[in-house]
Each structure stands twice: as structure tokens, then as C-alpha cells.
Symmetry: D2
Subunit: 501 residues, 4 copies
């Protein structure tokens, strides 16, 4: 990756109190343009800025953030700052940083590339795994700030996490400090695991109680994803969780919007950028009819495809049927299929046999989760199969049966690989939940014992409310009499916790 | 109602062991035709018959049912019987009985009008409230059966309830027996309350411990509706609930199907039968974007209406916006509206002022809950307003402003009043839940303490599964490896309890 | 039909100048209610009334109308009268008259059943074919009017026809008068042909030049249907056409609206009234993807059915595919089908073999044209097949293979037989074309030589324009500069004659 | 444009008989990849290859083609060659050439960049207007071929044209030769007109009868676009048309597919690539409800936008209303609009006043025709307005009122500028019409007098038929009896010429 040859942001910059490491501060202007346009699409965050700009309820809070360093995240970071927080940031993926966004955040709205005045960011597109864990560790090192402010702290007061890597660092750091130190690297450890252990090993060498002191200051973590929440719930079950956690992922305004409406947008976008084939008239098979699958199906039908749905869950299968779709196993119809989309979170749902059964030049795309939904690994070892790179993230695979298929993003999430991920508006909903979660942890820590909580329904509704105006949607208001009749408060929450939306 | 003049079924019929009271046994043949067609649309019930016809797992169970005595309910009753249960039945509404269905159930598949061999039913269209509560009481009187079988019981082993009236009879019976007897009728009591108390007063006079002995035999109740569940939850909170309860209403296969897909069907049906106006091109306002509202909106858009949505809940409002609908208070757009549909469960959502603001001959319809969603009472006292009956359940109201509106079913549920209620397929899902709930209560009573439970997710999924074949929908099956990867059983349940579908 | 036993309207009524023959004048009030509501749904006709009430451009015109005597036709008739015309009316189908509408038209807005002051109508539900042709002949007998006005005419100045029967009477009358008289009835002639010839034979006996004198006065005919236009085009080709004809059927505002949007409404309506089965989730097969088929498909998808399309025309087949539907011959998928809808105008598109292949209790419905689209005749002679009448227009056919199917309206148009035909709004578009055609023939006869014309595009656009307001649709207006740029008049017409809409 | 500095294809290449001028033959391999994938999406062309590869019905034909030199056009060119034709090609737009496609066509399937064996192409991205007309002239210079074959011809036997520039060269060449020579360049002539006249002036200088001899050999032209057909019809009216013309544009399989389904695809694609804003929930205004507008509306609704339609034509406005859309002038709703799409072919439909009234950062896009649909020129002279280039083809305009708007492709066709134009499948339909038109002109010239014809309906249907298989759509076949009943041939054509589809 040529990225590694380009000049990086300096760790000893002109501005003596601002640390950072990004690709190129000269990208800041381009990044600022995009941030400005994105702000218009992120009304929830902008509303919070307006509401709290004066009172600065996050004053005193120090937030260590680990989440894809994109244009949308830039709007999130600058919202946290507007609310009074200090922030340090790394990306949670080695490829997902948009360098111009990172540069703009470092430079800040009032700075220049030669006099950056923004936020310490440690992220660039194309990090090595060693660099990745270095960056992750640096968001916990608040010594510069402590010196500048005369504070006696080591680390953050809260973590804002995506996937749980930042949290993992603290959890394992404490575990190894309290136990027998960092375990030896084993032969079977991958590069990532080695890098992770190396970072902790160096840390324990320098200061054998550092993570314990860091953990003591942390009021909690807000976690973005299913995967991260899964990890947190396990720790909670095992009794090892060190601080309270809020699952942003389980807010209705995250799961029912990001998943469904985000995919409705980005699936079509990714298919178009990758292949230019006409979706109309094609037969598409969508594996999975959860929220993501429903969004995929809406998108494909909206473009005139005939859609067939595969499901293992009879309730979801029946929903698909009642919504007018043929429901069948992929095995039964594979020879009719032009486009396969996986949306399951499961493993091996499209097998090599399926791939061999598809129509010539059928397109295979994953919007579910890991790259194992489609057995690309199986393709790679299939005798007689040959890969031809059509363009980045678009491979033709010539199969031994004489047909070809087109695999997007090597079976990884094509909405990220072939499109530009979830659009700003949908990210605004997730990130407004994030900010509210950080506010909760900071301002009412007593409400959150060491456990995994979701945001109260009232805040969930608040997130929705903050996004209505931008769409010109106007709420009806309950009269006092109606509120009493329904037994709810006029301002909500309006539905019981079991309501399914 | 001329019904009251027609000959009733005799309570001393030829068949000395079969009690019943219905409108006319000669309607049985017509009823049997309809039941036969409905069976095809109720695959869940038919699948249970097939599965359990031999093992008869409900053998020994005595079920007191109180639920609209319709063609669909006939299929439910005969399914319970096929599974081995004994059944007595009343309707839960004075108007909802389909007399031909009642007759067919009494006559039975092997009987004739002169030799009925079916099930004791006590229900006819157009009961008085006194008759209604008499019928309700009769489903608890199993003396004939006890005599025939040499049993020493008084009443049923389970209740199958819709709205909670049957349960209420037992609860209050026990309360009054244990306390100071049946309270005096008060001046403010309505006719219904008087009839209810009279039935209990007569019972206590005859046997002051009857309801306590009946309650002791009851293993539980399965309840169909929100309203009934609401009552049960209150009793549970107050500690007065006498036996376990299962809320059928909260099954996913009830709430997410009956509400959404049932209304999608019956709203259009009701509008067409009532008015014959072309829905296409019209502007429709749907109040409420819950499951019922979503179904209404789908139906109207599917017929080419432009739809505007009113909502008080910001999350639902945002869903409506993301689904492509204008969201506005009725006040703001009332002058553009040709069709208003209420789907809220709330009170007074369409006021007299709204009605005065509508377009000439706009249609006003309620698919929510009670007749107070639309302020028809306000119309009745509005000076200068005049009602013209166009046909049954369709009234033109001439307004003092010179315009008219068309009110369906006097503001009551128009899917019942102007159409034929929910279609069989959707009722099959509810009723399969009912049968499974009865099976649970009978076969694994230990799993249900005195409380309000929902059916286990596995049974909910089973209900869905039993309806797939009829639609030609074919499930995909998890491999063992996939099941392990997901951490679920291959046969389900597939989703956590918090999953929102 | 018990109708024949009910008292008919008298041909020597109290009002000495008003002839008529209808079922029962006491139905007039009920009819007037329905007419009043229909007027709201027929804005094109009402706009013409308003525009021309004063100038009465049809003054002097005498219109002989032959078209289903329904509520909508009543609004048409009274519009013609408001524009100054004299009118006599018969139905064009022995079953299609709505007796209350006929009564209301005879009584008129100012009359009473005992003092009718409306329009001479000769139509009732359930005519014999002899009665039918008698009625048809009476709309040509304007002697009463001639006497009252001192006019020296015999018949009408224009015909308004549906299917061409009224026109046929004149054409054949003239042919037989000029030739060798009315041909002998042959053995193979059906009852209808005999009745037709009898009417003409009596006429020639009375007055051997009557039809020639009638024809001489006729400025033209406006024809409603494909079938009627087909007949006219044949006469025109053969050189026998006696007067100009305008095809209302070929107006865009007829063919692209009545067909598509009318069926979208009435197919669902008919299915629901006939069967109450849930359309959602079912597999529906629509034969034909013309305008009617497109409307049917929209309706079924709008209710959540999975739709498969059968087509013989590759262009229409490709449209169906691009719209997202599976396209296949019925043979290939018949075993999956729950609902079959024919929309072809073709013969035998659903054969007995197809019917035998359908799922148990599949519903079979025709919205195309004649009852031969579905081979019901073949069913009737199929050994082992048995018909069970479920209710009027709904037959279960038990098939020799043990399955049953449900046939609607005996294979005739189910939108008429099971629903209430096209809704008023759509009929308003057709009928506004009719009125404009009559105005053209009366006021600019020189523009219409003896041939078959369509209405000028400008009038077609005018029909559309008159229906926009009622839907709240507001046109944009071309600037002078834009009109010049496009080379069109600011007021239209906007599109070339070849434009396909 | 840096393109001008890159090495061009040599006009004296290694292969002594192959002339060409393209950007870089080394792009051929990349181009061949894309051509290969596109072939799969162009089944009509591939079917013609298969059908005619052996008989080579275009043997002897020489085709001068002037049409965007894209990947899809490469498939067209190579189809013509497979059918036996000789071809020379230029682009019809200075920017639209895809250089890799041009290179691949020159190199040919059997050649290499150093030994090109394909087709003479004269086209590259970023021609000057002088270069453009030079290239156009070179497709008429068949001297090399004549020498090689010993033929005594000067030019082509047919023209395949897009927009009419190639035809114009011949028409004007002949006119000037027969008249007083090429007119003097006038001061008001633009650069393009000067270049055009210069080319002809040089030609007449060299050979004053060249174009007359060229014209004499031309059997006809097939024209792709509305604009080109418009020009041809004018010549025909004026009596100056020199040879027969076939309008491909008026085939149903062009106008009803390319317009509607092409835009449905490329509008969403262009919006996404340009802006990444979430379309769902936004309010979109589509100006024009013709085929293009209908496609735009489908696409936007399919992505969850609320759509409002503006129309001047009442019939189209009524269609929009009946399809469920609000119909209003842009003036009335401009303040609610997030996305404006023009689809009119008209001038100035979005004015500066409209642009000033839009929401902040509203997106403005044209999919109609010329860049004057949106008054971008007016923006450029608006005091206080400032343009900020966000990225190529995406401009933010800061308006004097403090708001901004985002203008795509400077108001030019955004489906070309921001997306990749019409997808291959849709182009396959157009181009299959082109090939059939060329076949008609070559093989049955007697059927085409000097005039402007459309392809017979049977060929139109054939184009559709050739695209069904690829979509898995299977036609039903008429029986002989049915064909007779309908009065059509079993193989079609199935519809009269006036049928509107």
C-alpha cells in the first residue's frame, strides 16, 4: 500500500500540546468540505450541539474513542468537543480511515495545517496491525493533557467503542497486571494477536499498574456494534467486566434504522458502483429476512428485481411470504439467480456448490457480517477456479464448469467495500445515541451499575425526535386527556419495553 | 333485531346429552360449507389436527371458550375436539356470532339438525346483555358432562378467553364468595354491569362456594386480546389472579401478523363494500403508524392513494418518514383529506373540528380499537348536523358548514362492521397460538406458575412453521456447523427474546 | 328471476308526455341518494354541467342511449340533459340495470314516483332477450317528443352506444329496408338473433322506410367499447357505415385509466366479496400484461401476493420482467398457484388441464372479456366434476382428481359479477369523453366525415384536466417561452398522436 | 485536458490496412475485460451474432457509425462485424468516448496493441471540436478499403447515427456541392459551426462532387435519438432528405425501456455517487411524468423518498395522481424539497427563483435533455452566488440568501455525468434495434422509400423476444385457435400500431 510511503503527520508538531498521527494535514480542507456537507445530514448531532453548546455538560469528561475515522465520525467528535469533552481518537479498522476527515479533525475549524488546533487523532488508511494497536494504546495516554491542566490522571473517563478493541485493551491490561503478566506469544497466534500482546507487554514493562489506574477512572463505555456488545455481555456473565457499559446497538433508533434503511441505500449503491448491471428484471436471492435482509429486499424490489428470500427462521420466512416474496432454499432456485445477497450474520450460507450452480456472471455480495457468509476461502482452493481482478473490490471468478461469477469485496461487507458505507443520516442516528450514552455515563453515573444497559426508551425516542425536522416530518402531540387515557406521559415514552416497532 | 323472533335452538334437544342454544340448526349445512372452505385457509389448525389426531393430548381437558362464534372459531373448536378436549362455547360479543357457524358446530360433522352431535354452543347474533351473561355462565356448567362421565367436577380445566369476560366471571365469583357476597346494584351501573351482577347473585344464592370449586380445577387461561391481557396483568400486579394465564396476544405470530396483514386486507375490503369510491388518487390520512397503521398504509398505497401519516411517537413517525410518507398532524392537512383511518387505540384522535375540516364526502373509518377514536358522540350533539343512513354501517353526516362526511360503522371497527373481520389465514395464526397455549397449560402445568406468561419463542416459531407450507414457502435448514456458530439449536428458537422482528 | 313478477313502470304514466318502463318507481329515493354520492366522484361530468348549464350547447339534440343503466350512467344522462339534450335510454345488457338508478332517472330531480318528470328509460334488471330488443327499439321512437314539440322527426340526432347494439339496429334496419327485407329466421339462430330479427320485421311491416329516415337524421354515434369499435371499423372498411362514429374507447383517458386503475380497484374488491381469502402471501398468476393485466398485478402485489405473469407478447412480457415479476407459462407453474386472473380478451387461456393442475381451492377469476377466457364450458362436461354453489357468483367445482377450485361469476367478468364494476371516478373519465364526443358530433358535424374517429388529443387532455381538481392535483403551466421552445400551444395538446403514455 | 498530451493511436500503424485514431492501444486489455462482461448484459446483440454468424447477412455492407464510443457500443460494432459488415466509427460527443473500449475495438479480439486487427475507430475522450469533425469526416473515407478490395466506392452503404451529425455532413455536403459551395463563416458562428464548415470546405476544395457520390451509395440511415429523428423529419418535410431513414428511437423497445428502466437505474446511481445523501425520507420533486419521469419516480420511491410530481400535461398529471403521488407546481412546495429532478426536455423548468427557494443543500439534478432545464446560466450571473467545486460534476452553490444548493453535472445529464449512463441491458435493446434497422436497409431496401420509417412492430417484438431468455422470462405461446380468434399470426405482431403499451 503506497500509503505507507506518504509522509505521516508528525508526532512532534508545531503546536506543542497537540499530538496526532495522520496521513497528511494538507487534506484538511477537502475533509472540511465534506464534514460541512455531512453536518446537514446529521441533524441529531447538530441539534445536540445547539442544545448544549452553552451548558457544555461534558466539561471535564475525557473520551477515548475507537471508531472508523470517517467524515461522519468527524461530526461526532466535534459534537463531543462542542459539548465540553476532551477527546482522543483512533480508528477501529486498519482500512476504514478517510484521511481527509482525520486531517480536518486534527487541524480543527480554527487551525491550519501548520497550526493544527483540533483533536488528537491517531489513524490513517492502511495501518499495519502493529500500528493499529499502537494507535489504540495512544488514546489511553492522556499525559500531555494532564500536564497541561495540572491534572493527576492517566487516562480517559469514558470509552466510546466500536467492536470492543479499546475496551479489550483495558480489560486485558488489568487482567495481566493482576495476574501473571502478559502471556507468552504462542506459535499459533496470528499477527494481530502478537501485536496486541506486544503493546501490553511494553506497557506492563513500563508501569505494572497503569491499566488498573486507568480502569479506576473510567465511568463506562458506550459500544456501537453487536460484536462489541456480545463481548461485553460475556464479560458481564463471567463477572470480569470492569465498568458500566451502554449498548448503543440495541436502541430502536439504531437497530431498526441503521440496519434496514442503511442497507436499502448502500446495497444498490454498492452494486451499481461495482458492476453497472441493470438490477431491473434480474432475479435476486436474499439470504436472511432480518432488518438488514428486509432493507436489501426493499432496495432490490425498488429497482425492479424479482426477489426470492432464503430463511431459517419460520417467523421471518412467513413475514417474507406475507410481503409477497417467494421463500425457498438457495439450493432449490440457484440456477435462476443473477444476484445473491447475504444478510445473515451466519457462516457459510453461500457454499462453493451454490456458487457453482449460479448463472454465468451472477453477482455475489455480502451485507451481513463476516466474510465467511460466502465461502470465498472455498473458492480459493477450488481446483480449476481462477480469479480475474476486474477492478478493486470486484473479482471475476472463472469456475471449472466454464461459467464465471463476480464476487464483490472478496466476500467482505460490500456496502463498505464497494459503496461508502452507511449514509450520514443513518449514522447520525447511531451517533446521537452514542452522545446521549456518553452524557448518561458522565452526568448520571449512579444510574449505571457495572453491567450492560441499553439507553432508556425516552432517550431512544429523543434520538428519533431530533431527526424529524430535517425530513419535514411533524409530530402530533397528545392532549392531556389522551395521555391520561393511554396511561403515558405527554412527552413519552409512548411504548412498553417489549414493543417491537 | 328480528333475530330475537326467530326460533332458537332448544335447551332440551333430542340428543339428551347435548345442550346448546343457537339461532337455527337448519343453518348448519350452509355453515359447514363455509367451515370447509375456511379449513383450507387455516393450515396451522389443520396441521395440529393431523399431528395430534391419534395421540389426543387434550384428552381429559375441559375447555370453556368465550370468543366470537364465527366460521373461523368453528375450525378452532373442532380442532380442540380433535385433540381430545371437551368444549363448551359462548361468544364474547352480542353481535359477532355467525349463526350458521354456531349451528354447524352444534350439529357436528356427523350429526343432523334433528340429531346434533357436536359441541355445546350458547351464542347467537343479537343477544341481549342478559342473554350474553347467561351464555357466559353456561360454559362453566359442566354438570351434564360430569353426570355422563361419572366425574366429580363442576367446571372446566381451562378457559380460552377473548377480552377476559369468562375469566372475570370466575375471578369475581370467587371474590364475592370469599367476601361479602355480590355487591348491590348501584344507580350508575349500566345494563351490562347489572346483568353481570345478577348472574353472579343467582349463582351465589344457589351455591355459595361454586366459583371457588370451579377455580380450583382451572389450570389456566389463554387470552386473545390486548384488553384481556391488560386486565390479567392488573390482577397479577394486585395479587388477585387465581390461575396461570398465557397471553396469546403477545406472540409475534399474533401481533406482527394479525395486526399488520389482517388490516392490510380488511381495510380495503371494508372501504370498498361501504362506499365503492376509487381509492386510487385519493389523499388518505392514517392516524397511527403501529402495526395496524403500517398495514393500513400498505393497503392504501397498494391501491394508489397518496398517504399522510399522523403520529405522536417520534420513532414511529421517523419510520413513516423513512418509508416515504408525509408525516403531519391532521390539523395541518385536514382540508386535503379524502379518507381518514384511525389506527391508534387512543381516544378522540379525530375531533369534531377535524370532521368539520374534511373535504366534502370524505370517508371516516376506524380500525384502531374503541369507537371513541373518532368523536362520533360529538357529531351527535353538534347543532345543525344531520345523519342520513345510506345503508347499514354507512352514514352520511350533513354538517352545518354545508359539507358532508361519510362515517363507517358509527366509528366502531369498520373491518368488522363493513368487512368480514380478519381473514381466516390470519385467524389461523392466532388460533394456532391458542391451541398451543391450551396444550401447554394442560400438558406442562408445572411450567406456568400463577402469573401472565407468553408462549415460548419456540412455539411462536412453530406457529409460523405450520403456516408456511400452505403458501408454498420453504424454509432453509441450518447445518449443524451453522447452528453451533450461531449458538442456537438447529430447530430453533433462532432469536433472542428482545428481537423485534 | 322474480323480477319479472314485480310491477313494472307503466307505459301510460300519469305524466302524459313521459314514457318509460322500469322495475319500480318507489326505488327512486334510494337511487337518488346513490346518484348524489356518485356525483362527487364524477367531477368531469359535474364540471361540464357547470360550464354548460347556461349555454346549453346540446339544445336541439336528441340522444338515443344504450349503455348499462347504472348509478354512474344516471349521472351521465342527467349531464346530457343539463347541457340541453333530450334523451331516451335503454341498457346494453339484460342484467346490468340498477333498478333504483333507473327509477331515479325516470322520476327526475323534481318529480315524484306518482309524478315522474325525468327521462324516458326502458330498462330493468333481468330482461328477457325479447324485452331487451324491444327496449332498444323504443329509444329510436321519438314520436311522443315530436308530437309535443311539433317536430317532424322520427328518431334521434345521435346515438350513444356501448357494444354497438343500438347502432346495429339502425344499420341492419336500413340494410333490410334497402334490400330484400328481414331475412328468415334460421334453425341455427339463437334466441337473441331471433328476437333481434323479430323487432326489425315488425318495424318493416309497419313502415318500410322508417330506419332510412331515422338514419338520415343521425349525425353520428359515440361508442364506448373495444367490441363496438371493432364492429364500426368493419362497417367502415366494408363501406356500409351510415354515419360518423367517434371511438371513446381509444381516448387515452379511457383506455389507460379505466382499464388499469379500474381493475386495480375492482379485482381486489371482487376477490374479497367472493371469497374472504387473504390475498397476502398467496401466489397469483395473471394471464396478460396489457393495461388490465397491469392493473390486476398492481392490485395483487399491493395486497402482498407473489405474482407470476403469463404473456404471449414479448414486449409486454419484457415489461413484466422489468417490473420485477416472474414471467412463465401457466403450464410451468400451475401447481403453485392459489389465484388465477385472466386479463387477455383471448379465448381458452385457462384450460381444463390448467384447472386440474391448480392447488386445492384455488380461485379462478376473469377480468378480461368474454367468459371463454376460462374454459368453464369444459368443466361442465368434465366427467366427475361437480359444481357446488357456495353463494351467488361463487361456485366450488369438485374435480375428479379430488381437489376443488373456486370459480367466480361462472367465468364471466368478476369485477362486474362479484364486485360493483368500475368505480364512479373511472367511469367519470369514460363518460366525460362520451359527453365531449356528443358535443363534437352536434356542434361541429363538419369535422367528422362518415368514418371512425377518435376524439382530438386536446379533448382527451380536457377530460383529464376536469378530474384533477377533485384529487387536489395542481397543474404546472407552461410559460410562453417554454411553449415556443417545445413548439406546442400553452394550453395543449402537449404530445404527438403517437405518444404512448 | 491532459488527454491532449497523451500519445494518440498512430494513423500509420503497423497493420498497413488498419487506420484509426484513439488515445492509447495499451488500454485494449482493460477494455476487452469490460466488453466481455457487457456482452453478458447485451443478450439481444449476442443472439443476433449467434443467429447470423454463419449467413453473414451484412456481407458487403459498409457502415459509417457515429455514436458514443463506449463499452456497449463496442459490443454493437463487433456484432455488426460478426454479421458481415465493414465498419468505421467515430463518437458523437467529444467527451463520451471510453478510451479503453475504443482501444479494444481497434485491437480486435485477435490482435495486439502492436498488431491491431479490429475496426477503424476515430475517437478519444476530450476531442476538440475541430478534431471531432475531422473524425466524423473520416468515417466516410473508405478509400483504404476500396483499394484493398478493388472496389470502386468512396463511402459507406449505410449510416448508423446518433443525433444526426454524420447524416448532416452528407446532407450539407451535397447541398453545398449542388449550390454555391460552402458558405462563408459568419462572425456569429460558434467554434463548432466553423469547424463543421471548414471540414466541408476542405472537402469541396479537394473534390467538388465527393458528397454526391457518397450519398448515391447510401441505402439509408438508422437514427438513435429524438433529436436526430426531429432533424430527419424536418428534412423529409422540406423534401431535402437524400436517403431513407429508420427511427430506432420510436421503437417501443427503445422508448418504453431505455427511458423508463434506464433512468430508474441511473438516477439512483448518479445521486449516490455524487452526494452519498440518504434518499430515504427525503422529499423529492420530479418535474415531468413522461417515461423518464416515471422511471425517476419509481427509483426515488423505491429508495423511500416522498415524491411530488410537477406536470403541464393533464393526462400525465392524472396518471401521477392515480399512481399515488402529490401533483403540484414546484412553486407551491419548493420550500419542502430536498431533491429536484428534471425530466422534461423543456427549457427553464427550474428557475433561479426556484433554486433560491429550496432547502439548504438541496440537490438539483437533470435527467431530461439539455442543460437549460435548470437555469444554471442564471445562477452564474446571480449576484452574490458563489460556486464551490466539491468534486468533479458536483458543485455547491452558495446563494445570496445564505443557503446552499448542490448542482450535479452543471445541470447537464447527471445520469451520464455522475453515473455511467444507461446500463448495458437497456442499451442492448436500443442497439438490437439498430442492428435490425441496418439489416432492413441492407437486405430489403425496396421496403424503405426516401422517408422516415419506424421498424415494423414484428421486429420491435423480436428485440424484446431476444432479451427474455437472459432474464429467465418464458413466453406463453398462442394456440392456432387462439391466434385465429384474435386475428393475429401466432408469431406476432400481437398489437395494432396504435397500442400504447
Amino acid at each position: 500500500m503506497s500509503l505507507l510511503d506518504t509522509p505521516r503527520g508528525d508526532t512532534e508538531p508545531d503546536s506543542p500540546t497537540l499530538e496526532f498521527q495522520v496521513a497528511d494535514l494538507d487534506l484538511a480542507e477537502a475533509g472540511r468540505h465534506q464534514i460541512r456537507l455531512a453536518e446537514q445530514e446529521m441533524p441529531g448531532l447538530m441539534a445536540l450541539r445547539e442544545r448544549y453548546a452553552e451548558s457544555r455538560p461534558l466539561a471535564g469528561a475525557r473520551i477515548a474513542g475507537s471508531l472508523h475515522m470517517t467524515v461522519q465520525t468527524a461530526v461526532l467528535i466535534e459534537t463531543l468537543v462542542t459539548l465540553g469533552a476532551q477527546v482522543r481518537w483512533a480508528s477501529c479498522n486498519i482500512f476504514s480511515t478517510q484521511d481527509e476527515a482525520a486531517a480536518a479533525v486534527v487541524v480543527g475549524r480554527d487551525g491550519t495545517p501548520t497550526d493544527p488546533r483540533g483533536v488528537p487523532v491517531f489513524a490513517w488508511k492502511g495501518e499495519t496491525v502493529e500500528e493499529y494497536w499502537d494507535c489504540a494504546e495512544r488514546i489511553f495516554d492522556w499525559s500531555t493533557e494532564a500536564v497541561a491542566e495540572g491534572g493527576d490522571y492517566l487516562g480517559p473517563t469514558m470509552i466510546l467503542d466500536d467492536g470492543g478493541d479499546a475496551t479489550l485493551l483495558v480489560q486485558r491490561g488489568v487482567e495481566y497486571e493482576r495476574g501473571d503478566g502478559v502471556p507468552e506469544t504462542r506459535d499459533e497466534d496470528g499477527a494481530e494477536q502478537r501485536a496486541f500482546l506486544d503493546v501490553l507487554r511494553r506497557s506492563l514493562d513500563r508501569d505494572p499498574e497503569r491499566w488498573q489506574r486507568i480502569a479506576a477512572d473510567i465511568r463506562g463505555v458506550s459500544e456501537e456494534t453487536t460484536t462489541g456488545v456480545h463481548r461485553l455481555l460475556e464479560m458481564d456473565r463471567e463477572g470480569t467486566l470492569l465498568f458500566p457499559a451502554i449498548s448503543v446497538n440495541d436502541s430502536v433508533t439504531k437497530s431498526k434504522f441503521d440496519n434496514r434503511y442503511g442497507i436499502r441505500h448502500s446495497l444498490v449503491d454498492g452494486l451499481n458502483r461495482a458492476t453497472d448491471i441493470l438490477i431491473g428484471g434480474k432475479t435476486a436471492f436474499v439470504v436472511g429476512y432480518g432488518d438488514v435482509g428486509k432493507g436489501a429486499v426493499d432496495a432490490l424490489r425498488g429497482q425492479g428485481a424479482r426477489v426470492i428470500v432464503g430463511e431459517v427462521d419460520p417467523i421471518l420466512a412467513l413475514q417474507a411470504a406475507m410481503d409477497g416474496f417467494q421463500v425457498a432454499p438457495l439450493d432449490d432456485v440457484v440456477g435462476q439467480v443473477d444476484i445473491v445477497v447475504t444478510a445473515t450474520g451466519n457462516d457459510g450460507v453461500v457454499t462453493v456448490d451454490h456458487l457453482l450452480g449460479l448463472k454465468h456472471l451472477a453477482v455475489v455480495a455480502n451485507v451481513g457480517h463476516f466474510d465467511t457468509e460466502i465461502d470465498v476461502a472455498g473458492l480459493e482452493t477450488l481446483e480449476g477456479a481462477e480469479r480475474i481482478r476486474i477492478k478493486p473490490q470486484v473479482d471475476e471468478w472463472r469456475l471449472p464448469n466454464g461459467r464465471s461469477i463476480v464476487v464483490l469485496s472478496e466476500g467482505r461487507l460490500m456496502n463498505l467495500g464497494n459503496a461508502t458505507g452507511h449514509p450520514s443520516f443513518v449514522m447520525s442516528m447511531s451517533f446521537t445515541n452514542q452522545v446521549l450514552a456518553q452524557l448518561e455515563l458522565w452526568t448520571t453515573p449512579e444510574a449505571y451499575p457495572v453491567s450492560v444497559a441499553t439507553l432508556p426508551r425516552a432517550l431512544d425516542e429523543e434520538v428519533a425526535r431530533l431527526h424529524l425536522d430535517a425530513l419535514g416530518a411533524k409530530l402530533t402531540r397528545l392532549t392531556k386527556r389522551q395521555a391520561k387515557y393511554l396511561g403515558v406521559d405527554r412527552e413519552g415514552p409512548f411504548k412498553p419495553d417489549t414493543y417491537r416497532y
